[in-house]
Amino acid sequence: MAYIKSIEINQFRSIKKLSVSGFSNINLIVGDNNSGKTTLLEAIQLLFAKSQLGSIKPVIDQRTVLSPDKSSFYVSFIKMFNAAESRDQLEFDISAESKRGILHLQISGNEKVISGEEALQISSLSSRQKTQYKREAAYLPENAKIFTGSIAKQVGKKITEDGIRCTSLDSLASLSDIRKEVHYIPSFGHMRYDLLQNIVDDLDYKKLVIDILRQFDKDIADICYTKADDGSFLETIITKNGITMPFSVYGDGIKKILYILNRLYAASNSILLIDEIETGLHKKYFDILFPVVFELAKKFNVQMFIATHSIEAIDAILRYGNYENSNEKEDPIKVITLKKVDFSDGFESNIVARNVTGKYVYDNRMAFDFEVRL
């Protein structure tokens, strides 16, 4: 089972140096906007990337998936390094203590300016794309950038290091998935559908999911794929009256619930990262959904990292801890608050973390105005 106990991040995005230890089964990641919550989730994913740029790309792309402003792969890649670093030597590393031993990823190298022509020759573009570039010379920049370096990986005792090279002309179309030990649910992931894939193949799980959905909409009788007029398959809900309704006519709440339950099943024996769990969900459903999700995570051996801004979501998750009545010594919930702190010179900043138990947060919130999100 993939399970990380601690993580250390150096020079990655806005984080200069951050250590968090003592992760639990349910880890809540909270903090202000721009405090590094998504960065922490990305760092966890990168621990499971292969030592190829193509394996880094899906993590980079998550930030821009809904953005109309499509930065080039190169720009997004360079932004992974801490902005305060010298451009001569770029390096970030992420390491974690896991049940499989040490996990470590380090990307290092340097960036320099070369001519556009030279960049085109070196780039990973296909010969057809290169020809097209040359034909439309107006679009070939006079100068371009190149990053040359290496990706070093460690998984347990196995250490690998591969050279990497990337120019600002590269689009890096070919993708290499990160390993299945980590799964990621972006805040608006449910809008891209893919809601049923893992659910419909397991009849018991499907029955359970329908039971859960009925708590939100009692008219739901079944979920399945149906064939559209153009021959494509639609993710569909069938109501008690036998009416077939594609998910597109349903609200975000139902889709979000299905998306979480679908990914949770796929994440068996691995790590599930959920960014902004509250997106699309009305707070009145938190107390129905969260206990189910956490019990299923326990059953499927899933370690969860959940980022949220919502105090209602935090309180609902803490209610799962049942701290008023439980004397269990091992707290299933950890609350990790990230905070941006400026250095005294006023030019640099870092992200720091507070890692406390769910019970500590619950007891403090009962006693005084304890703000976990800052």
Partner: protein, 247 residues
């Protein structure tokens, strides 16, 4: 800047709040920055503000309730987690020395030191691993004799020209009772309570059965030099504290 002041009972809250408002310019607020609310009918929480500063005045519920208040309200966690600039404790001396009172109060406080009559700067690490300073001050009342808040009130009344004659007459009366009719009055605290109770009953007969809060505003406490000296440390709430340089 948030300041927190822990005192014993509701009478302490009333007198100190009066003083902070009338001498040091603090204003009453309806809610406090720490989100503390009274857990029972004996606790009393009052909120004050001055410019950007907030002050939370907490009556812990009476003599001997300091430790349980600190535990129930998680004051130690609050000091670590909230942006609190200082903690001041005002407590009765009864028959103890400054050092003994300091030890008793200090037992309940986890990561900070507190000492009678002295502002101490405590350099602590918060739960993000960041350093922060919490200043502490312990005010033991009355300052140089046995007793509690009632002795402070008697001394202050003795110091206000309009009240002096009456309080002295009351003291003579209570004195006359203690050698026979009411043996209990031989105890300092009981004597002082009887004197204060009698004074306010005679001073405001129509309110004789009301609480100290009602009587409080019948006296101009700002005229007492004794009280001015005793409450001088309140001057530093909401501002920089006079911390002694370490030798």
């Amino acid at each position: 800047m948030i300041e927190i002041v822990l005192v014993e009972g509701v009478s302490d809250v009333r007198l100190i709040s009066y003083y902070l408002q009338n001498i040091y310019g603090w204003k009453h607020e309806n809610s406090n920055a720490l989100g503390i609310t009274a857990n029972d009918e004996y606790e009393h929480i009052e909120s004050l503000s001055k410019q950007e500063n907030q002050l939370v005045l907490c009556g812990v519920g009476g003599n001997g309730k300091f430790a349980s208040f600190v535990e129930k309200h998680r004051v130690n966690m609050m000091l670590v987690e909230k942006e609190i600039a200082s903690l001041m404790v005002v407590t009765d001396r009864d028959e103890d020395s400054d050092a003994k009172v300091g030890r008793k109060i200090g037992k309940s406080l986890e990561s900070i030191l507190i000492r009678a009559g002295e502002w101490i700067s405590n350099d602590i690490v918060d739960s993000f691993g960041q350093r922060k300073i919490i200043n502490t001050y312990l005010l033991v009342i009355p300052p140089n004799e046995n007793g509690a808040l009632e002795r402070v009130i008697i001394n202050a009344l003795n110091d206000i020209p309009e009240e002096k004659e009456l309080i002295q007459e009351v003291k003579k009366f209570i004195e006359s009772l203690k050698n026979g009719l009411v043996k209990e009055l031989e105890q300092t605290n009981k004597y002082d309570k009887a004197a204060v109770g009698t004074f306010f009953s005679v001073r405001n007969p129509q309110n004789a059965l009301r609480s100290f809060g009602v009587f409080l505003h019948k006296v101009d406490w700002t005229k007492s030099e004794y009280l001015k000296d005793l409450f001088l440390p309140f001057m530093y709430l909401g501002t920089e504290k006079p911390i002694k340089e370490k030798e």
